[in-house]
């Protein structure tokens, strides 16, 4: 007897309509402005809210710099074509983006504590493995 394990795909409408599994995480900022923090999600997101509690941060969906050795699976970088947005200290922003990971970088060099940046993601039940790579995508690294 064989067994089949099906999972929903990236274009499964219902997966977005019934999404809403919460996912929260926080981290201290890095002290090197060019370096990127990566937050990976177990499932594809429907939306992500990023809150900055310590300093102005950059939000991007690839490493900040191209060919970052910490993330060898990426060749491009967000800074090359300005593919990032900035969130001031104390502010938050919500992105209705589907992705499996998000990158945060510090516009300065100071770090405050474990809750420098807080992330809330609204997850679908689409496994992260079903999400394509955003490396080289226009608006992300291009």
């Amino acid at each position: 007897m064989s067994s089949n394990f099906y999972s929903v795909g990236l274009n499964h409408v219902g997966a977005y309509q019934v999404s809403g599994t919460p996912y929260l995480i926080q981290s201290a900022l890095l002290t090197v402005s060019a370096n990127s923090l990566r937050f990976q999600f177990p499932n594809v997101t429907k939306s992500i809210t990023v809150k900055s509690n310590h300093a102005s941060i950059r939000v991007h969906f690839a490493p900040y710099t191209a060919a970052d050795p910490a993330y060898p699976e990426y060749t491009g970088g967000a800074v090359t074509n300005g593919n990032f947005v900035t969130i001031a200290s104390g502010e938050s922003q919500t992105f209705d983006f589907k992705c499996k990971e998000i990158f945060i970088s510090n516009t300065g060099t100071s770090t405050g504590g474990a809750d420098d940046v807080q992330i809330f993601a609204e997850l679908t039940n689409i496994p992260a493995a079903r999400m394509y790579s955003l490396d080289g995508v226009v608006g992300v690294t291009n």
């Binding site: 977005y16 947005v85 209705d96 992705c99 992300v140």
Partner: protein, 356 residues
């Protein structure tokens, strides 16, 4: 043999599974400057955030951000063409630059005729009577003697771009503003063989945009069609003009915001895009500025304003936006949630609520 299908603009699922990230940060957009931003796919939701401490970010929609020209002071350009007996000339004109009294009226356009030599058969001078009314003098020259009529026309707002058209059939000269017939006068019936835009004396600085010349007096409906057609290519079949053929099309396009032509207009030549009747600079100098449809996004009240450190999120489908810095240089971020619908499937955004 393979088929490549793509989702269309009405594909419901494309919006429900949308969310491909697109981000851009733009710094130091100079005060008064406009930034045109195109997306690879149709948007579902977009956010614009002003990161500047002073001034305002204005943001709106424009998919054909063409350019126009504006003379820096006195100046003019001229074109000559094979004589036409009947004709129509239609163009966009920025009334913002008009003078505020009859003494400061500006010379907008002259039409040369074969019989009048260097004299102009028709000449249009304009000025503002009020914020909602213009007045123009419509000169007619016959055997060297010039006469003129004063015509007063109400407009919604003087300080923006308007479409102006002249239609000549024999001695019948018809004037249109924004596609509406506003006056008929009797002229020489001598035809035309040249145009002069601007003036080396009674200087109207501009702007001018999207001028077309037709070899017949178009009907009222066709002149209105030209005004409503906006920045579109007049050679395309969706512009249904049957009364006459297109003789010349001057787009006043320098590829300022987008590449429309492989050979853009420059500081000396405004190319005729369908014939060889190019405008050449005769006097003064002109600059390329935002064309009528892009300018009317901002001065026609069709833009959202973001004060310092403010952010706005809107749900809409578009393939491009325009942002203008006002009051100070602006730093701003744009983040967009994209659908899987290719931008080429999206129609152009123009008309009421967008640029008029």
């Amino acid at each position: 043999m393979s088929f490549n299908y793509t989702a269309g603009l009405q594909n419901v699922g494309s919006y429900q599974v949308s969310g491909q990230p697109w981000l851009k940060t733009i710094t130091s957009l100079a005060d008064g400057s406009t930034q045109f931003i195109e997306f690879p796919n149709v948007t579902k939701k977009l956010t614009v955030k002003n990161n500047t401490g002073s001034g305002t970010c204005l943001f709106g929609f424009c998919t054909n951000p063409g350019s126009g020209i504006n003379f820096s002071s006195t100046g003019n350009i001229e074109s000559t063409f094979a004589a036409l007996t009947d004709f129509t000339v239609s163009f966009w004109c920025d009334f913002t630059e008009l003078g505020g009294s009859s003494g400061a009226r500006k010379r907008i356009i002259d039409v040369n005729t074969p019989s009048e030599g260097s004299s102009n058969a028709f000449s249009m001078h304009m000025y503002k009577n009020s914020d909602t009314e213009i007045e123009f003098r419509f000169y007619t020259t016959n055997s060297g003697t010039a006469t003129f009529d004063i015509i007063t026309v109400g407009v919604d707002t003087v300080n923006k771009w308007h479409n102006v058209a002249l239609s000549v059939s024999g001695t019948s000269h018809k004037v249109y503003i924004d596609g509406l017939h506003v006056a008929t006068r009797t002229g020489t019936g001598a035809g035309a063989d040249g145009l002069i835009v601007g003036s080396a004396s009674a200087a109207y600085q501009g702007g001018y945009d999207q001028m077309t010349l037709w070899n017949a007096a178009l009907t009222d409906a066709e002149v209105l069609t030209l005004a409503e057609y906006g920045a579109g290519d007049p050679t395309l079949p969706d512009l249904s003009i049957t009364s006459g053929a297109l003789v010349s099309w001057w787009a006043f396009e320098s590829n300022l915001h987008k590449t429309f032509f492989s050979t853009p207009d420059d500081a000396n030549i405004i190319f005729d895009r369908v014939a060889a009747n190019n405008f050449t600079r005769s006097a003064g100098a002109y600059d390329f500025v935002d064309g009528f449809n892009l300018a009317n996004v901002f001065n026609g009240g069709h833009a959202l304003s973001l004060g310092s450190s403010k952010m706005i999120e809107v749900s809409c489908k578009t393939k491009s936006i325009v942002v203008k810095a006002s009051g100070a240089a602006q730093d701003f971020d744009v983040s967009v949630s994209l659908t899987g619908i290719e931008a080429s499937r999206m129609h152009d955004l123009t008309g009421p609520g967008i640029d008029e």
